[in-house]
Amino acid sequence: MTLLKRLTSVLVMALAINAVAFTLQAQERTGPLRIEITEGVIEPLPFAVPDFVAENRAANDMARQIAEVVASDLSGTGLFRRIGSDAFISNITSFDSPVQYADWRAINAQALITGSVNVTAGGRVTVKFRLFDVFAGSEMGGGLQLGGTTTSWRRLAHKVADTVYSRITGEGPYFDSRVVFVSETGPKSDRRKRLAIMDYDGANPQFLTDSSSLVLAPRFSPTGDRILYTSYESGFPRIFVMNVGNVSRRALDDQQGAMSFAPRFGPDGNTVVYSLSTGGNTDIYKLNLQSGERTRLTSAPSIETAPSFSPDGRQIVFESDRSGTQQLYTMPANGGEPRRISFGTGRYGTPVWSPRGDMIAFTKQNQGRFHIGVMRTDGSEERLLTASFLDEGPSWSPNGRVIMFMRETSGAGGAPALYSVDVSGRNLRRVNTNTAASDPSWSPLLP
């Protein structure tokens, strides 16, 4: 009986398998050809940006410059490759003329950006542009028009590039943003530091402070109008908040005998987390800027510092040596039991939560080498993006795709410089600064 049951079961299973196989075969006979592709290529997308059309004589130079900045922005991401104008078959002489797709297809331009610039006597600039998918033979999104003044032409160009970048990649924009950093001058033994601000690509640098006192760790507010930083002008580290518009400033949580440092804004712009060192112990505190209310978030004999809010404001990641080595922990924004998230070899520090909320960037020191790395917010999928003598202080771009950090060369003549790297680990490149630079903080996207 049992044998009969088993035979029946085997027979039923065989019939079922045959039925499935027959169905698949019949599907293959009657349906379309089906294939699966799992191997592609990772290469930058070739694009063409002819000089924008100058609608009047006053726009001649600006039309060319805006096209250059757009091309530079896109090429700088490492995701795009510009096709030189000497390869062009077609020329764009009128913004409204039809596009000869075949000519751009022949030079393998997959994206084409055309535009025009108009400058009025009153100094008003109008930029129009269109983006074309050459191989699809259609426009990607509608044409756009931006307006500004002659002094804002670079911002207009960044806005154009931002739109193109977002439409093609699906990522959020980040070109129209700024970076505050510590500008360093003088020999290594007598380094002078000033706060400075510049466009994300290094253009338009300006100093925010003088070099009379040491300044460290500037951090942008979520709206980009204020900067937190640490100053040693009193001999002890103290936190200041500066208004970027008029460079006015005030001290935060000024306590006698206490050292405050490593500040960072919360996502609401009204809350600041920072480290306060009193009596030889360093813990993390939260300060409400409006009410002045201060809340202690950690209370351990170890050193807790470098706090960073999650974008939703619910959690804080920070570094602590409570386990004996410097590691990363997360905790609720109102304090609570910390949870360790870094378990690799070496020491972890300066964690920064991604604006997307999905990753945490950090500095890692292991066996004499420094790395910038990223991990999931639970500590999984750790990836190291860089390696050098000294890499430190990551800061996320507004779209969470790029990380800017400081790299210092070794030796007595070594100097820090700013670098950026794609979150994939590709496209490591140096950011142009007039002086040696460290401690970058990326602003949000400008309005």
Binding site: P32, R34, I35, G148, R369, S388
Partner: protein, 371 residues
């Protein structure tokens, strides 16, 4: 004996010639000896010079970590540790800037230039050139425009009519007027040969007279079915042609059931792999968002018999991704891949066209994410 004398004489002669003209010993004569001035040092002076000199120690930060030769990282990064220095090797060291001014110069601060991000004004899109890859109607080629005359003459002349005889003078053709009483002699129209006053280079390629697109080929005719002979009267030739034309026109517009069911042997694994590799070579995710890199899309496309994809038929069939934006980006990348690598037609067996007329391609970037 004479032979030995001759050989000896010839060798001596060669040696003499080489000495006189060959410069065999020039190197020996031209060698110059380096001359160095020396001075006599006493034993006391030598002993003083041999004393070890205390070298001032350089300013070193002994606490600074030394960079190891290799990266012995156990949790190896995705990118090799050598990649970062390699990329930055071309980057120049930052120049040592001049000393910063001690006094603050806050007058340098200029306000952020305002950009009036006006409400996005859509511009009326221009009508792009019509480039339908697939069309049901033949695109008849236009008559090619005449090229500029290669003949150079003092007086330019337009291109004469095709039936006009070449002559120095222009003369209209005349025909005998039937009702006229006076009979006019028939004469042939003449015109000067086409000419221009200067040599005109061919700056542009004349437009191609080839059709830009061709009608979609008709589906394979159904196999003739042997039927029993009927007693009907055989149709006339005109009726048969008319019937055949009607059938052909009908079959072009509405696919027969036989056309939707592929016939013949299926594609071999090798043929499928070749198509897979061909499309994959153009499937670039380098400019895709990280979310698009996590999106799988199934894309359908209809192919023409020459192996070229019909761009207008490329459609999204299914997707599996975090959001619509990522799906759209992934679909765009897939569509570009199909079109770009198919511009010259994929290498597919023509005799199995029914098998690959419609293709569904699944673009799965799972393995690409780990790169």
């Amino acid at each position: 004996m004479n032979k030995g004398t001759y050989i000896s004489g010839a060798l001596h002669l060669i040696a003499i010639v080489l000495i006189l003209f060959g410069g065999m010993f020039d190197d020996i004569d031209d060698n110059e000896f380096e001359v160095a001035e020396v001075s006599i040092v006493s034993s006391e002076e030598f002993a003083a010079l041999s004393q070890p000199v205390e070298v001032p120690s350089p300013v070193l930060d002994v606490t600074a970590p030394q960079a190891p030769q290799q990266e012995p990282e156990t949790d190896a990064p995705i990118l090799p540790a050598t990649e970062a220095p390699q990329e930055t090797a071309e980057v120049a060291e930052p120049e040592t800037p001049p000393d910063a001014d001690v006094s603050p110069d806050l007058s340098e601060i200029t306000p952020l230039p305002e950009v009036e991000v006006e409400p996005v004004v859509p511009i009326t899109p221009s009508t792009p050139t019509t480039e339908n890859v697939a069309t049901l109607l033949p695109n008849l080629s236009q008559r090619p425009t005449p090229r500029d005359s290669e003949r150079v003459a003092p007086t330019p002349a337009a291109q004469p009519e095709p039936d006009v005889e070449i002559s120095d003078s222009v003369r209209d053709a005349t025909e005998p007027d039937v009702p006229a009483e006076q009979v006019q002699e028939e004469q042939i129209a003449t015109a000067p040969e086409e000419a221009t006053t200067e040599i005109v280079p061919e700056t542009t390629e004349p437009p191609s007279s080839a059709p830009l697109s061709s009608p979609r080929p008709a589906s394979r005719p159904e196999r003739p079915v042997r039927v029993a002979e009927t007693t009907e009267e055989p149709a006339s030739l005109d009726t048969s042609i008319e019937t055949a034309l009607n059938e052909a026109n009908t079959s072009e517009r509405t696919p027969t059931p036989a056309a939707s069911v592929p016939s013949g042997p299926p594609l071999t694994r090798g043929e499928k792999d070749a198509l897979r590799l061909a499309v994959g070579a153009c499937w670039s995710l380098g400019s895709s968002s990280t979310e698009a890199m996590r999106t799988t899309v199934v894309v359908g496309v209809e192919m023409s018999r020459d192996g070229k994809p019909q761009a207008a038929t490329i459609r999204l069939i299914d997707s599996d991704g975090p959001n619509d934006s990522a799906t759209q980006i992934a679909f765009s990348a897939a569509r570009r891949a199909i079109i770009r690598c198919g511009t010259r037609g994929y290498n597919l067996p023509t005799d199995k066209y029914d098998r690959w007329r419609d293709i569904e391609i699944t673009f799965n970037p799972e393995r690409m994410r780990t790169r």
